[in-house]
């Protein structure tokens, strides 16, 4: 909740500054491909603000989920803005591809049947009907 309020506040604040521009720091003589590419999106500034907030959020979340600080930092750095946004919004709900074994006994029978019918493939020993 606090995170949400914080985001909302910063978002409102930053939006109000939009007209003063997010001009690039005037350092490099070359304009980077990623800057140009990001600028083509119509919601450029919104996306930038969101991305600036997403990364620290994803990083701390990854740490909470058992990733070491150094690894989390390198992982967040490798994400695109869009990927960081997806991670920030859905890190707990995104499917985490993990295993082929380990099913609760209660639904064992159901899955056995669905396996045989070819809707699932949970058990290595099943062969579905065609």
């Amino acid at each position: 909740m606090i995170q949400k309020i914080k985001r909302l506040f910063v978002f409102a604040l930053m939006t109000s500054f939009t007209f003063f521009g997010f001009t690039q720091t005037v350092q490099a003589a070359m304009i980077g491909t990623d800057q140009v590419h990001a600028a083509q999106a119509s919601t450029e500034n919104h996306a930038k603000i969101a991305a600036a907030l997403d990364r620290p959020e994803v990083m701390s979340h990854l740490e909470k989920l058992g990733v070491t600080r150094a690894d989390a930092e390198a992982r967040v750095a490798a994400l695109t803005d869009a990927e960081a946004a997806t991670m920030a919004g859905q890190i707990d709900s995104l499917p985490a591809g993990g295993d082929v074994i380990g099913v609760l006994l209660t639904i064992f029978v159901v899955l056995l049947i669905t396996d045989i019918l070819g809707f699932t493939k949970v058990f290595p020993f099943t062969r579905s009907v065609r």
């Binding site: 997010f22 001009t23 005037v26 491909t33 990623d34 960081a84 991670m87 985490a96 049947i113 699932t120």
Partner: protein, 322 residues
């Protein structure tokens, strides 16, 4: 999901089975339509040279990625990839990080269209595809990454490197059911210079810009080079090629690319700005000043950067700002 769980607790076991079957029974429509309209696909294909790494507990993500990277000529073990993609508390790996880790290890990674046709097309053209499946039912998911390395349309099978099975033959229909539960999520990780055949221009451009940022200019230049050949009219790709050519010391190639970009989009301030910089470094000050002035006059968000470039050129050429 919660609603279904509550419902199940109040119902008898046979009723649960019937309900679940009812929920699950959908048609494997893509499989069916593929049987009749797959004239462009070879009847079978198998990328047998794809290496195999048996997964450790919960770590199909690193294993699938290592196999795909191996096929791309990037030798890496799943153990090295674990700290790059695995999330311990989730006991699995998340799709955005699978893409990011591909880039970190020097491969251009991109999702392909969510279609069985696209998936098999990639495989038939030599690109193994990482897929995300839910092997179980939506209520109790078993998310799993595997690598599709082949198929046989006559037998209606797909061939996967999956889990601890080096060559898993799965009925196409079953595969489609398990894959559909991830909304047909699939990605390729290819060596720079090789492009997937099914990814459209926009998706590929974004993937290449992301690749440049992570993998550095030398590898990215190769990737852009292939892309500008396929989509010569794409300004972003021309800029990317120019920027990476410049960063790797090939200023002549950079000038050609930036000039092409200014022709394609005559109001692109970044293209004129970058062209001006390289021309100045090549000693062509008049042309450089002209390009920089054009960039300044186009204004927009790049006005300050362009003005700095112009100032720099004029200072270097020993002339005063007019």
């Amino acid at each position: 999901m919660i609603a279904i769980g509550d419902l199940c607790r109040r119902m008898s076991a046979p009723a649960v089975v019937l309900l679940l079957l009812f929920l699950l029974v959908g048609c494997a429509t893509q499989t069916r339509s593929l049987q009749s309209t797959a004239a462009h696909l070879p009847r079978r294909a198998e990328l047998a040279a794809t290496p195999f790494f048996a997964q450790e507990r919960y770590q199909c993500g690193p294993a699938a990625l290592a196999m795909s990277l191996g096929a791309a000529g990037i030798g890496i073990t799943p153990e090295i990839l674990v700290p790059q993609v695995y999330v311990p508390e989730r006991e699995g790996s998340l799709p955005p990080e699978m893409l990011a880790a591909g880039r970190r290890n020097g491969a251009v990674s991109v999702t392909i269209p969510p279609k069985l046709d696209a998936l098999l097309t990639e495989v038939s053209r030599g690109n193994p595809v990482i897929v995300l499946q839910n092997l179980s039912i939506p209520m109790s998911p078993l998310w799993h990454y595997a690598v599709v390395i082949g198929y046989d349309l006559d037998a209606s099978d797909v061939i996967l490197r999956s889990g601890t099975t080096e060559r898993l033959v799965m009925p196409l229909r079953t595969f489609e059911h398990t894959w559909a539960r991830s909304n047909h999520w699939a990605m390729v990780a290819l060596p720079p210079g090789r492009l997937p055949v099914t990814v459209e221009e926009g998706g590929m451009t974004s993937a290449l810009v992301a690749f440049e940022k992570t993998a550095g200019p030398a590898a990215a230049r190769k990737a852009y080079e292939a892309a500008v050949q396929r989509w010569p009219d794409n300004v972003t790709l021309q800029l990317g090629y120019g920027n990476t050519a410049y960063a790797t010391g090939d200023k002549t190639a950079a000038v050609t690319a930036f000039k092409r970009a200014t022709e394609l989009q005559p109001d692109s301030a970044p293209a004129f700005n970058n062209l001006a910089t390289v021309l100045a470094e090549l000693g062509q000050f008049d042309a450089a000043r002209q390009a920089a002035e054009k960039a300044v006059s186009l204004g927009g968000p790049w006005r300050d950067a362009a003005a700095a470039t112009l100032k720099d050129i004029e200072a270097r050429h020993g002339k005063r700002v007019r």
